[in-house]
Amino acid sequence: MLRSRFIPVLLLQGSGLIKTKQFKKYKYLGDIINVLKIFNEKKVDELCIFDLSIEPNKDPNFKLLENVARQANMPLCYGGGVTSLDNAKRLVSLGYEKVSISRASFSDDGFIEEVTSVLGAQSVVITLDVRKSIFGKYQIYTDRGKKRMNVDLFKHIEDLCNKGIGEICINNIDRDGMRNGYDLNLAKKINNLVNIPQTYVGGCGGEKDLIDLVNLVGPVGAGVGSKYVFKGEFDAVLINYFKA
């Protein structure tokens, strides 16, 4: 039986990893290679890396990413600056099974169709950063939560599915680093809408939150930030891994 994927989500800033709270920097974790080596030993299901330091229209840090891929034993997904077919192809040939696209999912120039047809749907993930407005409406943000897109979330997801993407990843800004549980209502709504795999990020506070998500929409990808990198009441950095 296909099992759910429990995925450490790592945030790069330069060559270091940080953890955020509601998209604002919270703590520095350390060098990515050191953290990667520990997750190798933990035999994690998948690893997701987002580079927050890539400015618009700049390329991913291929040198660092090659070094990461050389030492990674688990399936990899990378996001940050994937705005051209060449970049996407290069990442796959470096050993990133999946590339994650965010801002470029809004372009109407055929990029998404092109990248899915060349790489195959299985390698194309769209990650959307979402936040609930005070009126309860879900809104998509880009540029690390700074820019609100004037597009309906569910309509955008449907359009992307029609373009042939392989996975949708929802990153919940309000729940980032808060450990108050996944947004289950949103997960249920999206799961009813699409026929592709999904990953939800933002809110995991422990095993129970994983179980709730899996019971609702499993098999599913469950992204975990804080709970895989912190321990204790003062959030000391300690890499750990658990599944549901």
Binding site: M1, L2, R3, S4, R70
Partner: protein, 209 residues
């Protein structure tokens, strides 16, 4: 001849991960896309992610189509393992592209069937079930743990005895296929932790009796 392993590198992904495992296993291997290295090796690994046609065109650029197409006749003493797309191109053709495959294991690559709540692509860790119990390539593999899978297409075998292990996703699909000394694995052993390491170890140690 030397019992060397060739990691066929045609720039189609996942080579680092396999290299790491072969190094860890102390296996004597070479990474290359040259025909003379193929001729000089006993066990050949053909890894791949991506698209069927793209992969075939890369093999074509490396002038490897003909030697591989005639693998059964030219190299009956060697062993070949195709991984993921490297497995799918062992078939005759694919619904994913118009070109033909290597035809080493008779079959057609088809899109996974849409059923109820099943999400496509088939993504993540899935169990496998052995059909053929005498297969040393699966020795020591924890079937329940299985492999990491990532694909929208599957290998539909023409000859039922080509399928030696299944995975279940709404119905049974081939996880491991085989004809003579040619093997194809749908999952990604290079990213499947202990099972994957064991599987590659088993393959690299296959020898003609």
């Amino acid at each position: 001849m030397s019992y060397k392993v060739l990691l066929l590198d045609i720039d189609a992904g996942n080579v680092f991960a396999i290299e790491n495992i072969l190094k860890k296993l102390n296996i004597d291997f070479i990474k290359s896309s040259h025909l003379h290295d193929l001729e000089d090796s006993n066990n050949i690994i053909l890894p791949g992610v991506g698209d069927f046609e793209e992969f075939m065109s890369r093999l074509n650029t490396a002038n490897l189509i003909d030697p591989l197409r005639n693998f059964h006749e030219l190299y009956p003493e060697k062993f070949l393992l195709g991984i993921c797309i490297g497995m799918q191109i062992l078939g005759n053709k694919s619904e994913e592209g118009i070109g033909s495959g290597l035809g080493l294991i008779p079959g057609i690559v088809k899109k996974i069937e849409k059923q109820n709540n099943l999400k496509i692509p088939h993504m993540g860790w899935n169990s496998i079930n052995k059909i053929n119990n005498d297969l040393s390539i699966l020795d020591g593999i924890d079937q329940k743990n299985g492999f990491y899978f990532l694909h929208s297409y599957y290998f539909d075998c023409n000859e039922s005895d080509s399928c030696v292990a299944n995975f279940h996703y709404g119905k049974e699909y081939p996880a491991l296929i085989r004809k003579k000394n040619v093997f194809g694995v749908q999952g990604h052993p290079e990213k499947s932790h202990d099972n994957g390491i064991r599987f590659l170890h088993n393959f690299c140690n296959l020898r003609n009796a």
